[in-house]
Every structure is written in C-alpha cells, then in structure tokens.
Amino acid sequence: MREAADRTPNDVIVSASGLVKHYPVASKSVLPTPPKHLHALDGVDISIRKGEIFGVVGESGCGKSTLGRCLLHLTDITAGSIIFRGQDITHKSRHELKPLRKDMQMIFQNPFSSFNPKLKIGASLREVGHVHGISKQATQERIAELLDDISLPEDMLSRSPGELSGGQLQRLAIARALLLNPSFIVADEPVSALDVSVQAQILNLLMDIRSKFSLTMLFISHEMTVVRHLCDTVAVMYLGVVVEQAKTDELFAHLAHPYTQALMSAIPRVDPQARLERIVLQGDIPNAIDIPTGCRFATRCVKCEPVCTSRAPALRDIGGGHLVACHFAKGMNV
C-alpha cells in the first residue's frame, strides 16, 4: 500500500509491509534435502486507518489467521516489518511488547475455549486488569460498564465458562478485548462457530460497539456475506498473498479477480435473484509448501493463459484504490 506512507501517522493505526511468514517443514528423508517451508504469508502489505474495519476473507490455508497473529506480533515474522501507532514493533522482544499488549487485543474463533475453564468469568476478567497494573476499583467499574454494553447481567461474573452458551461467551470475549481500551482489535472469525441467529446478534453488537468506541478492527472471516455486512475495506487472500483489495462497495460491485468471482459465485444463495453463474473450480487448494511459479491461482483458474504460469502478477491499482493481482483483471458487474 504505497498510499500508507503518505498519510499522517496518527491516521494509520497499524501497517505492515512485505510481511512473510514461513514455517519450516521437517524433512522426512534421511538424505540431506534442501529445507522446505510452509508459505503461510508471502509478502503482504496492509494498512489500517483509525476507525476502519478492515476485512480479510479467504478459504482455509490462505493465511488470514496468520496475518492477524503477525500484526499483533503473537508469532515471529520471517521477513517484513510491522508498524503499530508509529512504532516499529517487528523486532521487539516479548518483554518490550508487554506494555503494548494493552493496546492491541484479539477475539478468537472458538468462544467455548477462549476462557480458562477452571476460572470463573469474573476472575478471568479481573486478572486482565491486575496484570496490567490497573486498580481493582477501576477494573470493577470498567467490567460493569462493559457488561452493560454487551447486554449481559452481573451474575455472569460468578459463572464458569462451561455453563454458558456460545453467544454469551463470545460477548464476554468481546468485553475482555475491550477491557483495556485498545486502539486495535483483531477478530479472528468471531462468528464462524456460532449459529445463524447468534451470529446476527454478535454482528449487531460489533456494529454497536464500533460506533461507541470508535474501534479499529481487522475482521477475519471466510464468509463474504458477513464481511460485506460489516467491513469498510475488504482484502481477499489466496495461498498467502492478497489477490484483490478494495472498499467494500466497490469490491462487491466490480469483482475483478477470477478467484474472488469464483468465491462469490460458490456461495449458496437463498434468493434466486442473488445467485451468480456458478463457476465451479476444479481441483483442490494446492498445498502451501510447493508454491507453483507464476500466479498462484493458475492451477484452478478458468481464465489461465501461458503468461500466468510464468510470471506472478503484482497487485496493481485498476482505478479508485481497487487493487487486483491478475494479468487480465477487469471488473464483473454484480
């Protein structure tokens, strides 16, 4: 994102450039072989402005969860840099990061395992304040406020996680993330494990707190309909790279990348009017260890041409900030 450098630091809460994350893969052979790596992220640039909800969407193995964790520096990065509120945190140690942890929080996918099963909810929440040196009094008040925001009664605090439902637990996880008033939250598929009606409740809640707390959020999901509903900007990832990115309305109005088009068309629709001509992709998502040369999507793309397998397309702007990584990008009207 070249534009990011032009904006004032106050505007951009978190940005990363050239983010690469490789996991070493143990060789199964006795003979010495060149080391292999799982390419979770292969050069991702991202820039999130204050108050923005940035959506990242893709299927399993595309690297979206890894991206979230890298931005929060929960795992080490193979290459690239991360700037959080003007500070370069790429090489900071765990100890140096601790004071920053107050400012960046995460909401996880599985609400049932997000809390320590042996602690009552109240104890879990109070501990957060305790570890960061906030007075008991202040923590109690904050918890009470947040319970109000998430519409749950006080007696929730004396219950164990095992007694609560997915929806209640996810609300509490949101409250926990908001406890220290962070400037940035990563939500890793927060509604994927929930029933449809509960999903709706949680999405409504996220919209409410977004306006109340002017949240900046990275929203990770595999469902385009959810992302469309909630996010300002959307990036589509495939096999460790961003293949398309634009403001939500623009993206959904003009799907430019063949993968995005296939993804949209694959969603089963209730309304027959909303159904797109089904592009059924052949084959499976290739493994992230042996990345094909050229465009990563070439093996499954319906529009594949010889140039696609020899040269990897770079992300280019096709107008109005709409980025696409395809040699033949042109918009598809929905």
Binding site: D195, N204, R269, D284
Partner: protein, 328 residues
Amino acid sequence: MDNLLEIKNLTVKLMTARGLVHALSGVNLSLRRGEIHGLVGESGCGKSMTSKSVLRLHNARRSKMTGEILFDGRDLLTLSDREMEALRGVRISMIFQDPMTSLNPLMTIGSQIAEMYRHHCRDNKQTARQKAIAMLEKVGIQPAEKRYDQYPFELSGGMQQRVMIAIALACSPDLLIADEPTTALDVTIQAQILELLKELQSSMKMSILLITHNFGVVAEICDRVSVMYAGSIVETGDTNTVLQNPQNPYSQSLIRSIPSETGRIGHLLTVPGSPPELFDVMDACSFAPRCDLAAAACLSNAPTLRSCGTNGHIAACHYIGQGKGGAV
C-alpha cells in the same frame, strides 16, 4: 406421492449428567421418494438426533425412543439389531460432518469402499476392488487406480468427503442421510460437493435427507425443507414456499437473520434470548417465550402441524389461518 420415510411422533429422551434431556418431542416428518429434503435448525434443536434415530445409532442404554419410523412401510423401531444391520449401508446410508474423523485412518480409501462390497454383497477381493475403483471415478476422484491405495490423511477435506460419499453409496441405498456434509468445508469445495450430490441423486434415483443450518444450501439443492426448533418440526413445505413465505414465527426470524445478500442494510433482525434447554417438557409452544406474537393460547397448548398452504405446506403455530403469520 409415495413416502419413503415417515417419522411419526418420534420422542427421544436422553440421560445426561445434568438431567433428563427431551432431545426430541414428537417429531413428524415425511420424506418422499426421489426428493432431497432439507432439515434445518440451530444447535441443539435435535436435527442430528433425528438422523441418528432413523439408523438407531444412539446409545441404547442412555436413551428411550417412542414413536414410529416407517421406512418403506416397515417400522424401524420394532426391528431387531440384526435386521437393522441388514438395512444400514444397504438401504439407508449416512455421511457425516467431519470426514477426517469419519474415515478409518489406518485403511486405504479404496479398501474402505471395497469393504462395503465384501461385507454386504459378499464379493471376492478382485470384484470388490473393481467396483470400488468404479465408485471412486463416479465421485470424481481421479486417477482412481492410483488414489485407491492412498490413506485419508493424504487427501484434502473435499476429497475425503467424496470418499465418504463413495462408501455410503457403494450399495446404492434408497435413502442417504447427510448430516451437515459441507459445514466443515471451504465454500468453493462446498459448491463442488453439492453439485456432486445433486448429480448422484438424480443418476442413482435415491432420496436424500440433508441436515444443515445453512439456508443457502437448502435453497440451492433441496426440493422440500423442514425447520426444527427445540426438538420438534415447526414447519415443512416446498423450499421456495417456505423461504418466500414462512408461516411459523421461528422460521420467519431465522430467515430474516441471514446477512443480506444484496447489500448492507444496517442491523440484522434478531430474536432476543436463546433456544430453551430441553429439560422440561411443557404443553406449550416452545418458542413462546421469545415470540412477538405470543398470547395465552401459546402458553397453554402446544401447537400441532397444520396445513397452511398448498402442496403439503404445514406449520405449527396457533395463528395460522388468522392472518397474523405471514410473508417475511
């Protein structure tokens, strides 16, 4: 209109550490020959329990079933264990949600399919192998001969699900029960699997009971759909009819809470509260505590499924025919 499967007043009580759970309270469902019937509901509503009951896969020591399950005229609940075994895999088959744990990790995929032929059709090794390879090709696993000797962990989620479908359809059953077969799969793979199921259903002329929580899937592939809530069916009808014009308040709220497909509209419409825990059974509508339209009648009498439209559209609500239930 021949009903292949008729579930009449099925009630299942389960014993758990937290008490007696009334998992199913009088389920009434009919599945016609050659149709794909969707069973929709949220977690805990009993849809998986219903499917397991048809095949009697539940823990007999911990549960009690009453009612009738008529398959092709025979009541499955009266059959002995041996008679049930003769039906499973041969006339009624099932596929499950997570293919990784449903396949035997220690056997090659080919041999798992061949096992069906050897066990049920008493084929010898060679014949079973031939048939298994043919089945692999039928479900779109190429090249079949090479893949025959692969193990489940070597395949992707979508492939594993295809293998499971191959195993289930090996002996050409009349009824396939698919318990959330695509929930654990990516959306592009889901599209492939749904295509495959549609193809196989028409070429093999079988019926499918498809359990899912995704209305989109129902809209794409099911002929008819039933909605479940708190252990019983609250609405049944043609897919289009139910989706365009649901008559039961719960069905209505469920359909309304799907994120809009045509653009952002702001807050989603939701129903406060959550489904009841199934410990107490009351002679009242189980949705009443959360329903806008609830009245005295709803709290004192459980509504039964009544006709509310054409072609077998039935719903359970006291307001049907009084003009209060209606279009979304």
